[in-house]
């Protein structure tokens, strides 16, 4: 749904130049919630602003719903007709909501429809529908100044949906909100994604946001995407930095040096099975649990367990094979003595 290829953005301020994006290849599939996470200054905002050409990339291409936006004429602030029409099909929500204080909630939601040239009657009906969808039907006549942050963001979301977009871009939409409100806004985004089949590209600096709503994620650093993939794949990858952060295990023990330490990751339905006791029973071995955690990531139950089996890696090849046959992901942690690697 959204594809960027070799996206580069260089800002020039006098003789100084900043490379905000350095060859970003991003692929967001239709109907998924895709999160880009990274520290401040990583280039996340620049990336999302390049997707609807609020920022013209220095090089590279951006394709949204099959349309190459980089090929459309017009500068970033003075878009040509085609680009403006393409933008109407891409919703965007902002960290600071960007609502017009001079308009009521209803009028704010109607704004994009006025721009499209819809008549008054149709505008009103559509706005009422959207406000209902985001749960703010009773606030139609209020002014943004009378709303809480969470309500303002709901208005922002309703406004972004006015043009029936297939894609929603969210630039730190929850960063100005408290944790409780953040959760409710994320739930709303998730619902919209599921009900309307909306593709969502969101950027955030909070891992929790990724964990709560995303199907896929990318980690950005210094203008580059350093890793990306579906959360399922990321969690299955022992070297994944994102997975470590989504699912930290650092507080777990590392085990005795003469034993084999395994990290077992299980997702979805395998989380309910008593594989540890099965393992112990089947192979008559001692299994020492060093640590375990179960969490909901992207709407799925994910668990990770670190266990210690006595003996070296070579002694445990069969039990490890058994676990893998059960559909579990097993990583053998490098141990100081036997140096075994999975």
């Amino acid at each position: 749904m959204i594809t960027t290829k070799g996206l580069t953005k260089v800002y020039r301020a006098g003789d100084r130049q900043v490379t905000a994006l350095d060859g970003v290849d991003l692929h967001v599939r239709e109907g998924e919630v895709y999160g880009v996470v990274g520290t401040s200054g990583a280039g996340k905002s620049t990336l999302i602003r390049c997707v609807n050409m609020l920022e013209r990339p220095s090089s590279g291409t951006v394709t949204v719903d099959g349309l190459d936006l980089t090929a459309l004429p017009g500068g970033e602030h003075r878009a040509g007709r085609e680009l403006r029409e393409a933008r109407r099909r891409i919703g965007m929500v902002f960290q600071h909501f960007n609502l017009l204080s001079s308009r009521t909630v209803q009028q704010n939601v109607e704004l994009p429809l006025e721009i499209t040239g819809l008549d008054r009657h149709a505008r009103r009906r559509k706005a009422a529908e959207l406000l209902d969808l985001v749960g703010l039907a009773d606030k139609a006549r209020s002014y943004p100044g009378q709303l809480s942050g969470g309500q303002k963001q709901r208005v922002g979301i309703a406004r972004a949906l006015a043009g029936d977009p297939k894609v929603l871009l969210s630039d730190e939409a929850t960063s100005a909100l408290d944790p409780e409100t953040t959760r409710s806004i994320l739930r709303l985004l998730r619902d919209l994604n599921q009900q309307l089949g909306l593709t969502v590209l969101l950027i955030t600096h909070e891992m929790d946001v990724i964990k709560t709503v995303c199907d896929s994620a990318a980690l950005m650093r210094g203008g580059r995407i350093v890793e990306s993939g579906t959360l399922t794949d990321l969690l299955a990858d022992e070297r994944s930095e994102l997975a470590r952060e989504l699912f930290p295990l650092s507080e777990f023990g590392t085990g005795r040096p003469d034993a084999t330490v395994l990290e077992i990751t299980f997702q979805g339905d395998s989380s309910g099975r008593p594989f540890v006791s099965q393992l112990a029973r089947t192979y008559q071995i001692d299994v020492n649990i060093l640590g375990a955690a179960v969490e909901t990531v992207g709407g799925k139950l994910v668990g990770r367990m670190r266990v210690e089996l006595s003996g070296s890696h070579r002694d445990n090849v069969v039990p490890i094979g058994y676990l893998r046959e059960q559909g579990l992901q097993v990583d053998v942690l490098t141990n100081t003595v036997n140096g075994a690697v999975a």
Partner: protein, 231 residues
């Protein structure tokens, strides 16, 4: 002079002042507003960024603002004659009044519009709006309270200038003050005229403030203060 002598003179002069300030205000609004908006749009970072236009318009506005009004009054005589066909009377005074007030208002408009959150401009762009949509849907409505207060300031300045124009044959209350109060030593009449001018200015300020307050009574900072006060 008795009050009965003063009244008809005052009435005519007041009407003249109203007419010249009114027309000058209208012209100022019509030309100063777009000029001020243009200054913001063509500035770097604006949607129509254009160094040349921005610098040229900025320079004209600056020159217009720095010229003392008395100089403008005299220097514009040929232009005034060309526009209204005469260089005396209240009709003639409207020309230098408007010419003086346009750059003044344009700068106030510029700063009012600059005060609008850039995020709103971005939001309109993101929803597929043109520069015109940005101006009409975001910049002007959001800056409206500030634009009204800028206009109030401008009208008050115009009342002051109109009195000055009156002293060189421009009609209105200024003219009356000079011909009777100053040249004929009618001190009482002078005092009455001054009081009327003061009341006029106060009334304009009051109306402007009320309008501004009403427009910004939308739960913005103004009503936040009100809420705090109530709490």
């Amino acid at each position: 002079m008795t009050w009965d002598d003063m009244q008809p003179l005052l009435w005519t002069a007041t009407q003249e002042t109203f007419q010249m300030v009114g027309i000058a205000t209208l012209v100022t609004l019509l030309l100063g507003l777009p000029l001020g908006v243009l200054l913001v749009l063509t500035d770097q970072g604006g949607p129509l960024r254009n160094r040349v236009v921005n610098k040229v318009v900025g320079a004209i506005v600056n020159v217009g603002r720095s010229l003392p009004f008395v100089i403008l009054l005299v220097a514009l005589i040929p232009f005034t004659r060309w526009v209204v066909g005469t260089s005396i009377g209240w009709q003639a005074a409207t020309v230098p009044l408007a010419v003086g007030a346009i750059p003044f208002y344009a700068r106030l408009v510029e700063s009012a519009v600059r005060g609008v959150d850039r995020g709103l401009v971005e939001a309109v762009h993101a929803m597929g709006g043109s520069t015109w949509s940005v101006v009409r849907k975001a910049l002007l409505p959001e800056a409206l309270p500030a634009l009204v207060s800028a206009l109030t300031t401008t009208v008050i300045a115009l009342i002051g200038y109109s009195a000055m124009a009156g002293t060189v044959g421009g009609g209105g209350l200024g003219n009356l003050a000079i011909t009777y109060g100053y040249m004929r030593f009618e001190t009482n009449f002078m005092i009455v005229i001054v009081i009327e001018l003061v009341l006029l200015v106060a009334a304009v300020q009051l109306v402007g403030d009320l309008a501004g307050r009403r427009l910004s009574h939308r739960g913005g900072p103004a009503s936040l203060l009100a809420r705090l006060r109530r709490a």
